[in-house]
């Protein structure tokens, strides 16, 4: 049997160990070697303050009384965690960008940095947390009493009360030492977080150990335990559907709204990505915590005498089996659950009280507002307030414990407390998802919810006739029956808890909605609303300060008093550097004021920080016009970015055009090279024969007939050379624009006749298909040049058409801008990639100069047509090669 003194010694040693852990973690963090302190594992374990002593002891009692209903308390948070993408991610991001310090700060900050909302939320939080802290004191005291009784010296009421006050004092000392040692710029408590992570591991280990002992040590295995459940008093599934659903909702909402959960979830979060891990790891923790609850309850009900308190089965079952070591571990688990919850809850409440109640009062009491910021150490005031608040909250818890008699079943108080905390839910969820939510709506909802909760759940929780008299409870206040605390609006017969949850949440949400819809928000509210709701869109918000007359030195003095000399100087120096200035005093720009306000808000909350800066800057706050100006700036930025986009699209087009031009140039250059070698060859061949034959003429004796023949050959070759050179010359003359055009008139039909005669010269070969009756068009232009184009086109068809029976179709068509003459042959046509090139100089599609041309014909045609004011282009898709000569209206004298 464990001696009671040994138990106390172990508890003290455990506390000393936690001190060491917290101290070590603080030291490590201070040296900037956070490392594993910032791991997702620590984050996940720190969330386990959700599992308080109520869970540790109370869940088993709950299961012994109501079967499986206890799991709802864990299923709610599980759903919130696995659904972290919905709410928690947004909440954590807002908490980081706005430097939130508590749930009251969130509400106050969202609704225009309102001081009054901060006060309301803080008061509600303190009231609803008090029973819960009482519960923790009670459970630790009861667990001590169990050991005292086992040691043969049962505790009476006096000893229980004495034990409770010692526990309260011990917790206050520990919390003050580590929770308020420093006023961090970002309100993070590495030591505390590390200590509660260790405690989380201890309580899980303890509960699992007891569970394993119960299943394998007593019952004999999982199969046996299931059989025992079937024969136990809680054998069947008898759940009230409304309670099941209400409790899952309640626990899910409480997980987000409880001040202590907000502290570990949002304020102590160092890295958003930790949510990713905690999203499944914390549900796993909860699952393990609740896995063994029913087995322990069933075995306890079977083994222990009928009057035994099921809330303490976790301790009494191992003790009854003589497993003192296991009982000791289990005691430490329960102790850990209670202490970690109380520590975090009191820190969260102390932050809220100091930032939202004491500081605003302190600022208001000082008559000269400007002096208030300068004189007196604000830091000292804040820290003192927090220490006093911690002690005060524990005292309240203790008083509640004494008042309520400490006898009620643990679970009931816990659920009443939860319902009080979740009254923040409509304002919180509305605030982060709905821009239309306003301060008036939030205040109306919060007050309504709080009143309904107090009336239906909190006041009755003190026991019948304690605060609400018996008559009022049964007949309603002033005899108004429909205001009875357990049957509002005359709806009778509901489970009291479901009744309280339903009406408080329903009326709260309704008032919040109505109040928001019918009120108009202040500029700062609208600005904050946009920043909260669109937190993923705007990483940098628009400034709540526009112009300023503040003195940088005054601001520095004030900041030093709040966040400490070193931090404040560092912050100011960095800001000055960013502005390109030396020293500690930056220019007081709106940007700087906003950054400073954020920095201060991390310590004293948004409302106080805003008020303090507002006093120094003579209230040069925000107006609706400023908001509109901000929106205009945003619109201008958008406009500018649209212009940039258009410009870049235009550049893209230019680049594409340049690229295609470049490709064409490259291809031409290749062609030109090929042509140069070609033309050298062409010039060389006639030159060679001219030279040879002239040598023969000079050196040999021959007949006159032979002489004639050789001279004829020389003459022919010279003609060929001349033709080539003529072409080149002609082209260069045309290209330079030095050509003289002679105005002539004539019929199109005649021109085509002329061209056809020149090419065919009476020989057969190319068949030309025309409808002469349609060609009665009189032209006024340089006809010789035009006929040259026609000759070229017909000659090309004759030379290059590869059909067995070459034929050329010549058609005249009327288009909008004039007439076109199409020359279409029945050959293979020209490949698409070559169609671009054929009009270029020196372009030739076949390598061998099979028709003696130099690849200048079409280039000359194009130059001529350009000079004449018409055009020539390749006409694809005609079955053969097709060329279209356009004759605009100004070339036409008369039409048929």
């Amino acid at each position: 049997m464990v001696a009671f003194n040994v138990l106390v010694a172990v508890a003290l040693a455990y506390v000393a160990f936690l001190f060491a852990v917290a101290f070590f973690a603080e030291r490590r963090a201070a040296k900037g070697r956070g490392g594993w302190l910032h791991s997702p594992v620590v984050y996940t374990l720190s969330l386990s303050i959700y599992c308080t002593a109520w869970t540790f002891y109370g869940a088993v009692g709950y299961a012994a009384r109501s079967g499986l209903e206890y799991v709802t308390i864990y299923l709610g948070p599980t759903l919130v965690m696995v659904g972290w993408w919905w709410v928690l991610r947004r909440l954590v991001r807002i908490g980081r960008t706005q430097r939130l310090t508590s749930v009251a700060d969130l509400i106050s900050s969202r609704f225009g940095k309102s001081t009054s909302l901060g006060v309301i939320v803080t008061l509600m939080a303190v009231v609803s947390a008090t029973p819960y802290i009482a519960l923790q004191l009670q459970s630790v005291t009861l667990s001590f009493a169990v050991f005292a009784e086992a040691g043969g010296r049962p505790w009476g009421a006096d000893e229980l009360a004495g034990g409770a006050i010692w526990v309260a004092i011990g917790l206050a000392v520990f919390t003050v030492l580590f929770g308020t040692r420093n006023l961090d710029a970002n309100e993070r408590h590495h030591g505390i977080v590390m200590a509660i992570a260790v405690e989380a591991a201890v309580k899980l280990l303890a509960l699992v150990a007891v569970g394993v002992f119960v299943i394998w040590g007593i019952a004999g295995g999982p199969a046996q335990i299931l059989t025992q459940i079937e024969t136990s008093p809680i054998a069947t599934w008898q759940q009230n559907g409304s309670r099941w659903i209400s409790l899952i909702f309640l626990s899910a909402a409480a997980f987000i709204c409880l001040p202590r959960m907000f502290q570990v979830l949002v304020v102590e979060n160092v890295d958003e990505r930790h949510l990713n891990i905690a999203g499944w790891a914390f549900p796993a923790y909860l699952m393990l915590m609740s896995l063994f609850v029913v087995p322990i309850a069933v075995v306890g009900l079977r083994l222990l005498p009928a009057g035994a308190n099921p809330d303490l089965f976790v301790l009494t079952v191992p003790l009854s089996q003589g497993r003192d070591g296991l009982a000791m571990l289990s005691f430490l688990g329960g102790f850990s659950s209670a202490t970690s919850m109380v520590i975090v809850a009191t820190i969260a409440l102390a932050t809220m009280v100091s930032n939202h109640i004491v500081l605003p009062i302190w600022l208001a009491v000082r008559k000269n507002a400007k002096q208030a910021n300068m004189s007196g150490d604000v830091r000292y005031v804040i820290l003192l307030t927090r220490r006093l608040t911690i002690a005060g909250v524990l005292l309240l818890g203790y008083l509640y414990y004494r008042l309520s008699g400490g006898g009620a079943a643990l679970a009931t108080i816990g659920l009443v407390s939860f319902t009080g905390a979740v009254q923040v839910l409509p304002a919180l969820i509305g605030g982060i998802f709905w821009r239309g939510a306003t301060r008036v709506g939030a205040a109306m909802g919060l007050i309504t919810g709080f009143v309904v909760w107090s009336w239906t759940l909190f006041l009755p929780s003190f026991g019948s006739a304690a605060i609400i008299s018996e008559i009022t409870a049964t007949a309603g206040p002033f005899g108004i029956a429909w205001l009875r605390p357990d049957a509002l609006f005359g709806i009778d017969g509901m489970d009291p808890l479901v009744h309280g949850i339903m009406w408080s949440m329903l009326l709260n949400t309704a008032m919040f909605f109505i109040g928001s819809v019918f009120s108009f928000p202040t500029p700062l509210e609208r600005l904050q609303g946009a920043q909260f709701v669109n937190v993923f869109d705007y990483s940098a918000g628009s400034q709540p300060w526009r112009t300023s007359v503040a003195n940088a030195e005054d601001l520095l003095i004030m900041s030093q008093r709040i966040i400490g000399g070193r931090e404040a100087q560092g912050f100011f120096q960095k800001a000055a550097q960013t502005q390109g200035k030396d020293g500690y005093l930056p220019d007081v720009t709106p940007e700087f004021l906003e950054a400073l306000e954020r920095e201060l808000a991390g310590s004293v909350g948004a409302a106080t920080a805003h008020a303090m800066i507002g006093q120094l800057t003579d209230g040069s706050g925000l107006s609706v016009e400023d908001l509109i100006a901000v929106a205009d700036e945003a619109a201008q930025i958008l406009e500018y970015s649209n212009q940039l986009e258009a410009k870049s699209a235009e550049q893209d087009r230019t680049a594409r055009a340049l690229q295609s031009a470049n490709e064409q140039l490259t291809a031409l250059s290749v062609q030109k090279d090929a042509f140069l070698s070609q033309i050298s060859h062409e010039l060389r061949t006639p030159m060679t024969s001219i030279r040879s034959f002239s040598e023969i003429l000079r050196d040999s004796e021959m007949s006159a007939q032979e002489q004639d023949r050789y001279a004829g050959i020389i003459h022919d070759e010279t003609l060929r050379l001349t033709r080539l050179l003529d072409d080149l010359l002609e082209l260069s003359v045309l290209a330079d624009g030095q050509v003289e055009l002679q105005a002539q008139t004539g019929s199109l039909s005649d021109l085509i006749d002329r061209a056809e005669n020149v090419v065919n010269g009476g020989k057969t070969g190319l068949k030309v298909l025309r409808v002469k009756s349609e060609e009665t068009l009189t032209l006024a232009t340089d006809l010789d040049r035009l006929v040259q184009v026609f000759i070229n086109l017909i000659a090309n068809a004759r030379k290059y058409c590869d059909a067995a029976a070459p034929a050329l179709r010549i058609e005249l068509t009327r288009l909008d801008e004039g007439y076109v003459v199409d020359f279409i042959d029945n050959g293979g046509g020209i490949a698409a990639e070559d169609q671009q090139l054929i009009f270029e100089k020196f372009a030739r599609l076949t390598d061998e100069g099979k028709a003696g041309g130099a690849g200048l014909g079409l280039a000359i045609c194009r130059e001529i047509m350009t000079r004449l004011g018409g055009g020539i282009e390749y006409l694809p898709g005609q079955g053969g090669a097709g060329f279209r000569v356009s004759l605009p209206d100004h070339m036409i004298l008369a039409t048929p």
């Binding site: 079967g67 499986l68 799991v71 299923l75 599980t78 759903l79 919130v80 965690m81 696995v82 659904g83 972290w84 993408w85 919905w86 991610r89 980081r96 430097r99 970002n186 299931l226 059989t227 459940i229 079937e230 809680i234 054998a235 069947t236 599934w237 008898q238 759940q239 559907g241 099941w244 659903i245 899952i248 160092v270 890295d271 958003e272 990505r273 949510l275 990713n276 891990i277 999203g279 499944w280 549900p283 796993a284 699952m287 896995l291 029913v294 869109d537 705007y538 990483s539 940098a540 991390g602 945003a634 930025i637 958008l638 970015s641």
Partner: protein
Amino acid sequence: MSLPPSQKAAFLAKDRYRKRRMRDLARAVPVIGGILLMLPLLWSNDTLNSTAIVYVFAVWVLLIVLAAVISRLVSTDSPKAP
């Protein structure tokens, strides 16, 4: 500063599209869980708790596994700690 909603891209590349759908999946998990956990309310009151306990914990494990798998598929872009 990212662009206002009207300027957001209407169509995404394949990998980003996939990421978005994984986020939808992440959002669906609590809905699935809620439905599965309401189902026992349809059971008769004679159902044995030994059955119910197995069901509830099986759903619980399913949710944990789902959340763990999805947490690997979605990634958050976290800004540096202030």
